[in-house]
Symmetry: C2
Subunit: 293 residues, 2 copies
């Protein structure tokens, strides 16, 4: 078993447990909790919490509430998937191999389950027990920026606006830096904050987050072409069918792979500014660009 | 001019200015900022920020960032209206006398404008300059509870679940305590937090918030019967037409007025535990139960 396999097999159950327990503890209507939990429990790669934990591992810092922060970020990610899948947005029926939230609970409850997850995630950060108040406030401020109009929500708007238009690679990059990159970068930075990392380490991790976020997204686009619906758990080939702006569409498949590898190499180079010794974080980055689902 | 008129004419423009400036300062796609601003600028009574400011007035405390906190709460309130008006929820075409957000910008952008406002409001609280870190965290935690699954979002779910069912007065009360009461109570408690009020003052203000919140909602139900579409800025008689569970429907119109007045009197009694002298907060409470729109 590789070091990364050991790490994920140890930590994913802990993140899942946190998610289930957090939602179970909410004093709310059962049907709402069920809808919130449905999408959280649908699995997924838990990429954002894993990056947070891998950053702490890389910086050789243990933090008892790291998986709690990771769970809060996963709630924000899950809310965004629930809202993105709605009929008025991407209109997706399947996600992570299961029916999407609105296909099971209806549009109204899906919107509210997303709203509930987003709102709750800020409460989770505010209640952390072992994180200094100023650090909690920084986490909340940065998560608000990464998830909101300046980040993920803004990126989704740009994505919708670009539909049925031909855009440049730069415009596509702006979409992804916001839509997926901002929250991924935040989870990496959150690890640095919990580790009380110094400014130069934070800067290097921000560079790492920027590049690995783009490599992650390019690989997503490549998998839409090379993957199968079965392996992906969502409809493969949908980007091509809907004439979506993707890296392969703008750069050819080979061009997209070159760009992905370039961003991957840049991300690894950033890590070498922190430590000459590759670690788990290197392995996680490599997994991200080589994954088949 | 009454004291209350003077107070609202002084403060509403300041709250409006804060809302406009805050959204203008966001680094986000213009169309998203336009959609966010559209519903904020549609006016409304600004009840929640006014309550916050009136609490500070009542406690004779000045706070330079009170209207900023009020604006953050108004953003949360506005997001909830945008989502509630969606076709999959209440399907309303008019709000505050103007077309609802999704009628102008489409469902996708309306959902995202709501998401953006909610997410941004937590950022506003995290960035307050003159509030101690622990108080900011308490504001964030309480706003997360009041706005989320344990409060407003949960209340909206209960409301949807109760459609086309006959429910008890107690069940109706539970819906409103969560759907509208929780955020209104939070704005009152936020005033107490900014004023560093002691525990007994906070308790009295919480009781005040509980009762004035219910009186506010009962008056809303009464206005749906007694008001006109023109004066309300939203479709009058809609509750009756849709056989919605309301106080007048369950208690008769006169019974609803008795209940409203009882809660109003209880709210005023709570204030007398803080000060024997009635103030602006008393006037605002009286306005709430006597308003015609």
């Amino acid at each position: 078993m590789t070091c990364l396999q050991n790490f994920t097999e140890l930590n994913i159950p802990e993140i899942d447990r946190q998610l289930t327990e957090q939602v179970q503890s909410i004093n709310a209507p059962e049907i709402l909790k069920e809808a919130m939990n449905y999408s959280l429990a649908a699995g997924g790669k838990r990429v954002r919490p894993l990056f947070l934990l891998a950053v702490l591992d890389f910086l050789q810092v243990k933090h008892s509430e790291a998986s709690t922060v990771g769970a809060a970020i996963e709630m924000v990610h899950t809310y965004s998937l629930i809202h993105d899948d709605l009929p008025s947005m991407d209109n997706d029926d399947y996600r992570r191999g299961k029916l999407t939230n609105h296909k099971v609970y209806g549009d109204a409850l899906a919107i509210l389950a997303g709203d509930g997850l987003l709102t709750y995630s800020f409460g989770v950060l505010s209640r952390l027990k072992t994180v200094p108040a100023e650090d909690k406030l920084e986490l909340i401020q940065l998560m608000s920026e990464a998830a909101g109009a300046e980040g993920m929500v803004g990126g989704q708007v740009l994505d919708i606006e670009s539909e049925r238009k031909i855009i440049s690679v730069e415009e596509l990059e702006t979409i992804h830096i916001n839509k997926t990159g901002a929250l991924l970068s935040f989870s990496i930075l959150a690890g640095a904050i919990l580790a009380s990392a110094d400014a130069s380490t934070r800067k290097a991790l921000q560079d790492f987050g920027f590049h690995i976020g783009l490599a992650f997204q390019i690989q997503d686009d490549i998998l839409d072409i090379e993957g199968t619906t079965e392996s992906l758990g969502k409809t493969a080939g949908k980007d091509v069918a809907s004439e979506k702006n993707t890296y392969p569409a703008l750069l050819t498949l080979d061009g997209a792979k070159i760009k992905r590898d370039w961003h991957y190499n840049q991300s690894i180079e950033s890590l070498r500014h922190i430590s000459s010794e590759p670690g788990l974080l290197d392995e996680l980055a490599a997994y991200i660009v080589n994954r088949s689902k």
